[in-house]
Amino acid sequence: MDVPAAKKPRRHKGWFKRDWRLYTMLILPVAFYLIFCYKPMIGIIVAFEKYNLFKGMWGSPWVGLDNFRFVMKMSDFSSALRNTLFLNFVGLIAGFPVPIVLAIMLNELRSTGVKKVSQTLLYLPHFLSWIIIGGMVLQIFSPNSGLINATLLKWGWIDKSIPFLTDGPHWQFTYTLVGVWQGMGWGTILYLSAITGINMELFEAARIDGANKLQQIWHVTLPGIRSTIVVLLILNVGQMMNISFDRPQILGNAQVRKFCDVLSTFVYRTGIENHKFERATAVGLFQSLVGLVLISGANFVSKKLGEDGIW
């Protein structure tokens, strides 16, 4: 009887008497996590059932992997998966370098006034919902009367409106462009704070060695923010399977259905609109598991490269 007690000498004897107030603080948040985060995880079993709304998740018959087999054969699913990966990949290639370049440019700018004002403007799109941005984009890119088409027509650069939103490849371009535009300013924040962390003496030494501005950026600034770049790149790769719902939902339309339907909108349409809960849950689970593998892999690679992992 004495042995277990002796085994934990570090624990203060009256720990509960001393800390019970801390535990009372945790009651509400822990209840929140259990009810709104962990309880839905049990609901994943719906993916393995022939779900019946009236019998509920405990009464519905078990069908094993049938839902997964069914979904994998759906052409809508494969096109949603393809579009998700394609839009994410193109978005990463086009969007990832932009904040880095922008941050370096902002850092080189000596006028604090111009810097402050432009940063204020650049961060603005981050604070607006995709509904607002989507509404603006539909307005500005609309055929004939939209700002861009009207201007190009007036200048005589084009004879016919460019179908930014109604033709597949054009839509993909618009979607990517808007994403890059929305994220570029906010993305500079982490790089700017990484640049501030670089030892100023390194710039001094480079200058004395006769390095010009571009050489300083190449040999001092970029190596200085290398680890930030690597970690963010890896994190982004880990997010390849995840796509937000708002952006494709608001920018998409019937004419480009084959190009704009992604996993998140597919799950919404299948599950919440058409009440095929089990199929949509199967897609969600597939997406979560692949996402978990991707993010673990990303973390592993990051640590192998000698950078900080994310956990």
Binding site: H12, W15, D19, R21, L22, Y23, M25, L26, L28, P29, V30, Y33, I35, F36, C37, P40, G43, I44, V46, L102, M105, L106, E108, L109, R110, S111, V117, S118, L122, F127, W130, I131, I132, G135, L138, Q139, I140, N144, S145, A150, K154, W181, G185, I189, L190, S193, Q255, S264, V267, Y268, G271, I272, F277, A280, T281, G284, S288, L292, I310, W311
Partner: protein, 304 residues
């Protein structure tokens, strides 16, 4: 006054150094890029104030053409729109208050290394960042709880953000331990220490998180689209979504040769006016709160 006169020559010397040729080019490029973030708004605002014929002929760029404020009059006199505005404000206020209480209550105990089970509770929170039930199980959960079509479905499910909780936790951890020790010696309990020592010292980060939550809720539309059918519980973003999606259908019909039957005078400016109407609250507070956000992002990145 004295200080200013002393500083003046120094400033002038600095000024001549700032604006070299390459710096001017760089500043111009940056200003141009920044303007792409502003001009779309100006265009939408100008459109919302222009006449239908001017909009349709593509004449509107950055100034209203044939000024017409009837779209705004229509919005402000539309009871559904105004009710949605007040509903969104109410939801945002209640949600933000709940969220802050939950975030503080979770973050504070997790900074106490002496608490038994701290690692477990920490994991309980962190795990939710990497794995979730998914859209449909979450929807079914809300349904089971009887929250569909209730304003609570917009408040409760997202009221604690683990990301924000980590930001607050790292801020609490940075406060010196001696403060708590001194308060304990004075006989204060954990609640008193939290309320009278920690919170007053954390006002800046509490302000940041309040804004994070408030802007997030103001902008959220996905939860409302999923959970709300009842028109009187539609937040502004959802109303706007339906408006935009509706008019898009009309546009496409018109392009394909059909003609829209509801051709009122403001049919073209009501949508941009609604966009401006829903954005205005954000635009008004934005310049003042922007720096708090930037501080929050950097804290979150260091510890997250």
């Amino acid at each position: 006054m004295k200080k200013q006169t002393e500083n003046k020559p120094a400033l002038e010397v600095k000024k001549t150094r700032i604006w070299t040729g390459p710096q001017i080019v760089l500043a111009l490029i940056i200003i141009l890029i920044s303007l792409t973030c502003l001009l779309p708004f100006v265009n939408v605002a100008a459109t919302s104030l222009s006449s239908k014929s001017a909009i349709l002929s593509g004449k509107v760029t950055f100034f209203p053409v044939e000024l017409d404020t009837r779209a705004y009059k229509a919005i402000f006199s539309d009871p559904a729109m105004m009710r949605s505005l007040w509903f969104t404000i109410g939801i945002t206020v209640v949600y933000t208050a709940f969220s802050m209480v939950m975030t503080i209550l979770m973050a504070y105990p997790l900074t106490k290394k002496r608490m038994a089970g701290r690692k477990f509770f920490n994991f309980l929170a962190l795990f939710t960042m990497y794995f979730s039930g998914g859209t449909i199980p979450i929807y079914l959960n809300i349904k089971e709880l009887g929250l569909l079509d209730s304003p609570w479905s917009l408040i409760l499910p997202g009221m604690l953000s683990t990301y924000n909780m980590i930001i607050l936790k790292s801020f609490f951890s940075a406060l010196p331990n001696e403060l708590e020790e001194a308060a304990t010696i004075d006989g204060a309990n954990d609640y008193q220490i939290l309320l009278q020592v920690y919170l007053p010292l954390s006002m800046a980060s509490l302000a940041t998180l309040t804004l994070f939550y408030a802007v997030g809720k103001w902008n959220s539309f996905q939860d409302a689209l999923y959970y709300i059918q009842n028109k009187s519980y539609q937040p502004l973003q959802l109303k706007l979504y339906h408006l935009i999606k509706g008019s898009q259908a009309v546009d496409i019909a018109a392009m394909e040769g059909g003609s829209s039957t509801v051709a009122t005078d403001i049919s073209e400016s009501i949508e941009p006016a609604s966009i401006i109407f829903a954005t205005l609250p954000i635009l008004v507070v934005y310049p003042f709160v922007q720096r708090y956000f930037v501080a929050g992002v950097t804290i979150g990145a260091v510890k997250g």
